[in-house]
């Protein structure tokens, strides 16, 4: 396909083995600025492992990850957050005992000015001092971030705003997923990785989430999306990448991929024998 924009993320030969199993097997992918690529594939295809490799939760055995031209392959997750890479987790990982506000504020952590000085020993001590003394600049920054959090939460209508001070453990499953996405947005990400953002959501909630992701895309955010709800992936994605047994078996515009015999075989071959839940679903 034609290169409309600059490449933001590029993966080359990315490979991760667990014992005898190759969970991610030589994946190549280029993601352009502002592009949304959907990743589909049967369960166990290696999609989440691929996310872990990109975001530093796991290290590849071979291959390379480049972000904005820089080799970020061996970077730690905390460093990648500083580069503007945000992700959500497949099983939903909110901070259970933190309020909704605090959860989302953690998303903005990498942007705090108190955190930034990278001087060894003195940097952290300075951070401790700033936290205790709290000069007006620190207070103003905190206030501004809190306001930002409210703006982000407005995207979810009345779902989260009334629950600002409630601990995350008391939220519904769908609301926890929303908190996760809000937390990711608070990072002001340059690249957003969403791992099954609508898992466990009912059709109304799914439609809301789809509208939100579409809105983010329109605002120019670059997104990698893992999703089982095929209909949603087809509507949102500029391109779709299909994984099976760690390999990329197809890539291209949605309609093209959908009719690819290899894709149909992967889904039917694995999907039918493992139960209907794993086959691609059509969302009304």
């Amino acid at each position: 396909m034609m290169t409309r924009t600059t490449t933001l993320l590029s993966l080359r030969g990315l490979t991760r083995r667990f014992g005898g199993l190759t969970a991610v097997d030589g994946i190549d992918l280029d993601l352009g600025q502002g592009e949304l690529v959907g990743i589909i594939g049967p369960n166990g295809a290696g999609k989440t492992t691929l996310f872990n490799l990109v975001t530093g939760q796991d290290q590849p055995d071979a291959g390379e990850v480049r972000f904005d031209g820089q080799d970020i392959t061996a970077f730690s997750p905390e460093k990648l957050a500083g580069h503007g890479i945000a992700r959500t987790f497949q099983l939903g990982r909110v901070f259970g005992n933190l309020s909704v506000m605090d959860n989302v504020l953690i998303g903005a952590h990498a942007r705090l000015s108190a955190v930034r000085p990278a001087i060894p020993v003195m940097g952290p001590l300075l951070e401790l001092g700033l936290a205790l003394l709290r000069p007006s600049s620190v207070k103003a920054e905190e206030e501004q971030l809190r306001e930002e959090v409210r703006v982000i939460l407005k995207r979810f209508g009345e779902r989260l705003l009334p629950r600002l001070d409630q601990p995350a453990y008391s939220l519904s499953y769908a609301n926890r997923r929303r908190v996760e996405i809000a937390r990711a947005l608070a990072l002001k990400p340059r690249l957003l990785l969403l791992d099954e953002p609508t898992a466990g959501m009912n059709p109304t909630e799914t439609a809301e989430m789809q509208a939100l992701i579409s809105e983010l895309k329109d605002e120019g955010l670059t997104i990698l999306l893992i999703e089982h709800k095929l209909d949603m992936v087809m509507r949102l994605s500029d391109r779709v990448m299909v994984m099976d047994e760690g390999k990329m078996i197809a890539e291209g515009p949605g309609e093209e991929v959908r009719n690819d015999p290899k894709v149909i075989e992967a889904y039917l071959g694995h999907g039918l024998s493992q139960g209907a839940g794993k086959a691609p679903e059509q969302v009304a």
Partner: protein, 607 residues
């Protein structure tokens, strides 16, 4: 003359004894992902049952062994049924705290029945030595080797060829799958705890015979050694535990040969820290493996803290500040001074264990560092006491954080083990570094507390001083919790993977929490040193670490007001009811167990 062969034989024999403890720990970890801190207490029970059998009942050896194994197994079954099974579905911190509580209760019961004085435990075997090459070997060595090998063989046959053994292995591999296949996990747990306890009890008896001496301090040492061996071999890995034990035995034996007996434990704990840092999954794990503990799941119980109105807090602080003006006895003031000193330690621990989720069992080491620094500065360099105490706090913050930093990459139980070992290392260094610390003699004649040149001799001024310092530290900590750091600490506690994904460096924030907490603990130790005027390597011991932990759980993890309330309650109530000192630790242990079971969020709730 002793030869290297003698040291090798000694190392292997001691290794055999450790193996009996470590194998039990490995079995338990395998099926329930739990490090049983009570294993050493069962070992202690075994030693004393052996003493009763040999000295009072005069049973023949074989009957002694059977009796010890039976009683120890029964204790193990009781622990499993009443201590741990009710906690199966609770948060991860609960069983960890429960086994710590159980170990204290058991140790205290043994101490109350038999007194803490050492006793001789004769081996009933003929006292001959056989020449083997350049070394010698005695019948007891052969007995220990025989018991070790026989137990290993029986265990192997049990796991391999019996249905229950299959169930144990299946549960260890995948608990949920085993349950779905109809394995009765409760029966598996029972079997494993029974076997582990029987082996642990026999080990205690054999060690007692080997050194012809038993005492109640054996328990903690055994737990530590067993855990070291198990972690070296890879948690949950039964053959690994045996090899780890032999390795530990040899390292200790050669270490003693080269440097002397007082260094024995130092080598054991250094080995542990080395393995935890370099290969946290054990020597025999493949280099890249899934982390040893599940990544998801909440560590502490979710709860909403009790909101205490500001006026109530101000009133309480005012009332306690005015207390010395009322006609109260010196005894009441002294009791409360102890509460304030414990309160500072609890503030420190509630930040580290509660807010950050790193359950430290070596917190008394921070007291010791502060106390020694302050005492030595005021004695040797004639620092004013106030400055010396602050320096003590700073030294605790710096040195304590540096020492604990190897544990920053660990999770859950491993943090507790590492901090326990680091605490022991500090106390061993104090004991052995005689040129600075006076070794076992301790430091005496430490100048009394003074402020701006005025000595604080009377109870009222010491009371005001310690109360003011504690309130100041509490206010600072409250301020810290309200900042972005408080939020960051709690996020790391709740889910460190997600926290890292959002830019929180675990090393940085764990270090900051330990620096802040280390300062409070060091100041507490410094004040204590000037108050007692004499300190030695045993002044600040593991019992204080456990007491502080009980205070923290009682008040509510991370809860500043709760830490102070807990300190007043645990120091004050035993005094109020005139409970004898030897029963207090027993009561602390029971309080800890009851809290974990019935009110895990403590009195004022987790923050």
């Amino acid at each position: 003359m002793s030869s290297w062969l003698d040291y090798t034989i000694n190392g292997l024999i001691v290794g055999n004894v450790y193996a009996l403890v470590a194998v039990g720990l490995a079995l338990i970890f395998g099926v329930s992902r739990l490090i049983n801190f009570a294993q050493g207490s069962i070992y202690l029970v075994g030693a004393y049952v052996g003493w009763v059998a040999v000295v009072q009942l005069r049973t023949p050896l074989i009957i002694t062994v059977v009796l010890v194994a039976t009683v120890a197994a029964l204790v193990g079954l009781i622990i499993e049924r009443f201590g741990l099974r009710p906690l199966q579905n609770s948060v991860r911190i609960a069983p960890l705290l429960a086994t710590i509580g159980i170990s204290f209760v058991l140790d205290q019961i043994v101490m109350l029945i038999f007194s803490p004085n050492p006793r001789a435990l004769p081996s009933q075997l003929p006292d001959v030595r056989f020449q083997v090459g350049t070394g010698t070997i005695g019948p007891l060595d052969l007995l220990i080797a025989g018991v070790g090998i026989t137990s290993a063989l029986l265990l192997f046959l049990f796991l391999r060829y019996t249905k229950l053994g299959w169930a144990v292995r299946a549960t260890a591999q995948d608990r949920d799958a085993a349950m779905q296949m109809g394995v009765d996990v409760n029966r598996v747990n029972q079997a494993v705890f029974g076997i582990a306890a029987a082996l642990g009890g026999i080990s205690g008896m054999l060690v007692g015979m080997y050194y012809n001496q038993i005492d109640t301090a054996m328990s903690l040492q055994a737990t530590l050694k067993g855990v070291v061996a198990e972690v070296v071999g890879g948690a949950g890995n039964v053959p690994g535990a045996v090899i780890g034990s032999m390795l530990l035995g040899l390292v200790e034996s050669y270490g003693v040969a080269a440097f002397g007996t007082s260094y024995r434990n130092l080598f054991a704990f250094l080995l542990l820290i080395l393995v935890l840092v370099l290969r946290p999954n054990g020597l025999f794990a493949s280099a890249r493996q899934a982390p040893p503990e599940p990544l998801t799941g909440t560590f502490i119980a979710p709860s909403r803290p009790v909101r205490i109105p500001r006026w109530a807090l101000v009133t309480a602080v005012g009332a306690f500040a005015l207390l010395p003006l009322l006609p109260v006895s010196t005894y009441v003031l002294q009791t409360l001074i102890n509460a304030w000193l414990l309160g500072m330690l609890a503030l420190s621990l509630t930040l580290v264990a509660g807010t950050l989720g790193q359950v430290s069992l070596g917190h008394a080491a921070l007291l010791a560092i502060g106390a020694y620094t302050s005492a030595l500065l005021s004695l040797g360099l004639s620092f004013p006491v106030g400055i010396a105490i602050i320096c003590g706090g700073l030294m605790s913050a710096a040195l304590g954080t540096l020492l604990i930093s190897p544990s920053f990459r660990l999770r859950g139980h491993y943090v507790s083990i590492a901090t326990l070992a680091i605490g022991e290392i500090v106390s061993l260094v104090i004991l052995n570094w005689e040129s600075v610390t006076n070794g076992p003699i301790g430091i005496s004649g430490i100048p009394p507390l003074s402020l701006f040149g005025y000595d604080l001799y009377d109870a009222a001024s010491v009371y005001w001083f310690s109360f003011a310092v504690m309130v100041l530290l509490a206010l600072l900590q409250t301020r810290l919790l309200g900042s972005h750091l408080g939020r960051s600490f709690r996020a790391i506690r709740d889910d460190d993977v997600a926290a890292r994904a959002y830019g929180l460096s675990l090393n940085r924030y764990k270090a900051l929490a330990f620096i802040f907490g280390g300062f409070a603990a060091g100041v507490s130790g410094g004040i204590a040193a000037h108050l007692y005027s004499y300190i030695n390597h045993e002044t600040f011991n593991t019992q204080q670490s456990i007491l502080a932990l009980t205070v923290v759980i009682l008040g509510g993890l991370g809860n500043v007001a709760g830490a102070i309330l807990g300190s007043v309650a645990l120091v004050g109530l035993p005094e109020a009811f005139r409970i004898a000192a030897e029963y207090r630790i027993l009561i602390y242990g029971i309080v800890l167990l009851l809290l974990v079971r019935f009110r895990p969020q403590g009195l004022l709730g987790t923050i």
